[in-house]
Symmetry: C2
Subunit: 369 residues, 2 copies
């Protein structure tokens, strides 16, 4: 059920079997260095989000460039990272199923692990798992700082959960999870700034109320690739959870004043039919490239547009028939959304200067539980 690798080291990019997930290593490393350079003067740490990359190899490269740990959304992702040598993992999400919590607790022998909660019953479930495993589990309280998804209201509700955690002999209060997910793709810089200013107000208030009760937040975590410069400059958040910055995608590119990263992640696809002038069909449809945030863009080929995705086919239209790609030609697509695109593949094919340099397994691919 693991698919065989689509390439071998040393191969030319045009010889990679398609569709394949190609990582431009120069652009990827540029992005890691850029993030480190942007955060250094703020004193804010990076805890990069592995929901984007799902790979302990990527995680360890981020940590070699200064990240203090990793975030994940799922226990299966935490397992893949811990088993791959990542020493510090925050599940930036609620986990309530006893079977999942037992798996998470079982990782404590090989990694520092923390998890979020937004409900007293959820905290009791974590406490039971920790007690059963004979460990103390670190728990952050998630507040809803504007996204309207998980998390309690900032203020007294969050304080009550924190006190419940701090009072347990099996738990450690780890701080606040405060992520404004839907601010990341608001198109204007002003919209993003205002959303984070609003999130900052509730977060600051909650931190202060906790301090009044003698509870310090070791972690105040949040932020994504679209807004992290605001959170980093706020003096409130101390950990940035950006993930997409490593790869960039077409949808982040549509933000006005987009984040300062290069496209490093591509789906390499081949023209498998060219039945009419100015029209070609690629072997990559929406099973190969996520379309939840829009269609992919064609990289480095002006005049070509990816105009429609079916399950296994992608339609390419050329402005001018003379520009149309030939049967068998390969194109790099910039995914509309990098996270779910990565999740469709078993392998990164790392490319530098037109040659395959490495193959990295996407160890947490499909890890939803």
């Amino acid at each position: 059920m693991l698919q065989h690798p689509p390439a071998e080291p040393g191969m030319r990019e045009e010889d990679i079997d398609t569709p394949a997930l190609v990582l431009d290593l120069d652009a990827f490393e540029h992005n890691l260095d850029t993030m480190a350079a942007l955060l250094a003067p703020t004193g804010t740490k990076l805890r990069a989000h592995a929901k984007t990359h799902k790979s302990p190899i990527v995680a360890l490269q981020q940590m070699r460039r200064g990240a203090v740990g990793q975030c994940v959304q799922k226990v299966a992702e935490a397992e893949a990272l811990a088993w791959g040598g990542v020493p510090d993992i925050l599940v930036s999400n609620e986990v309530i199923a006893p079977r999942k919590l037992a798996r998470l607790a079982a990782l404590s022998g090989i990694a520092r692990v923390a998890v979020c909660a937004d409900d007293l019953a959820g905290i009791s479930a974590i406490e039971a798992a920790a007690e059963h495993a004979g460990i103390r589990m670190t728990v952050l309280v998630e507040i809803d700082c504007g996204a309207g998804r998980c998390g309690v209201e900032p203020g007294p509700q969050a304080v009550a959960l924190a006190e419940r955690i701090a009072a347990s002999p099996h738990l450690i209060f780890g701080g606040l999870q405060s992520y404004h997910g839907n601010a990341q793709h608001r198109r204007t810089p002003e919209q993003r700034r205002d959303a984070i200013a609003h999130a900052a107000e509730g977060t600051r208030r909650t931190v202060e109320q906790l301090r009044q009760r003698g509870l310090e937040c070791a972690i105040v975590g949040g932020a994504g690739t679209g807004t992290f410069q605001h959170e980093a400059a706020s003096g409130i958040w101390n950990e940035i959870q950006a993930g997409s910055y490593a790869f960039m995608d077409a949808d982040y590119g549509r933000n006005e004043d987009p984040p300062p990263f290069r496209h490093s992640l591509f789906v390499l696809a081949e023209v498998m039919s060219a039945p009419r002038p100015g029209f070609a069909v690629l072997d990559a449809g929406h099973k190969a490239v996520a379309v939840d945030s829009g269609l992919p863009l064609v990289h480095g080929r002006p005049g070509l547009a990816y105009t429609g995705a079916s399950d296994e086919h992608g339609n390419i239209k050329a402005e001018d028939p003379a520009l149309a790609p030939r049967l068998g030609e390969k194109l790099r697509l910039i995914p509309g959304h990098c996270d779910p695109t990565v999740d469709r593949y078993d392998w990164y094919v790392g490319v530098r200067k037109g040659r395959v340099e490495c193959l990295w397994p996407i160890a947490a691919r499909g890890g939803m539980a």
Copy 2:
């Protein structure tokens, strides 16, 4: 990288780890029997499409109920089926990459294999692979009968390709591939009937022109779950390539006069946060359930709607807060689109009367090459 199974045989459905792909075996078998009963009086055969299910286990059950073989879109799917014991496989799609064609030719020792072409260069590539492997490969000509994707125009263009195939000592002319993909989801019965009437005209004309040149079509293949009753009744097509009929999905359910099958495929998801009255968050977002054809429906729980998907979260709104699901409660979701949803999972969890009966690996999951 293979995810561990989310259940064990004998377990109650509510104990399955989430998100999980649950197959209601009674409904699934009903669908297989219904298709067999509908096709029997027409004399048209079923060559079910494995792009939907990606599993030799499902394929062999379809064949035990009368299917003559399977279709696939990708060589990796053909491999998974052939290795799993499926004896007759048509790649209902163009394959032009030499590396892929060599893999396809290598399957000929264990299965009957055929492939489609819509270009002279493509035929030459298949011929070279067949010659190199020392086999004769069966090739169908794909015509564009209305979908506007792959395939040559019906008529002389198709005849020219067929003659090229028939003239090769390494190839066998296998017939016509004539699938009207985008007719399947046209909403009214009249739209679907008219689209297939148009497709039938070009297909019939091509079959007749081929016959005038002495070329008989062993296979005239096409049709999907939305239109197959038209193709089956036409007297032109002799093989039906429906796939979704085994599972049904929410989008086929939106057709007026929808196909006569039951929903058998579900994503089982758990409420992992219930932060506000009337609102809950499931642990299944668009990494767990495909949204390219719309959001999933909540099965068997009137008053609940799945209103938004992010990567790992699904928002549930209740018409009346009293109907809202509790933290930890599990819901069955009907996927908007079954094919890409299946492709996100490693396992089917077969359920009957509330108990897990079987676990089936999704052997071609991620098989895009």
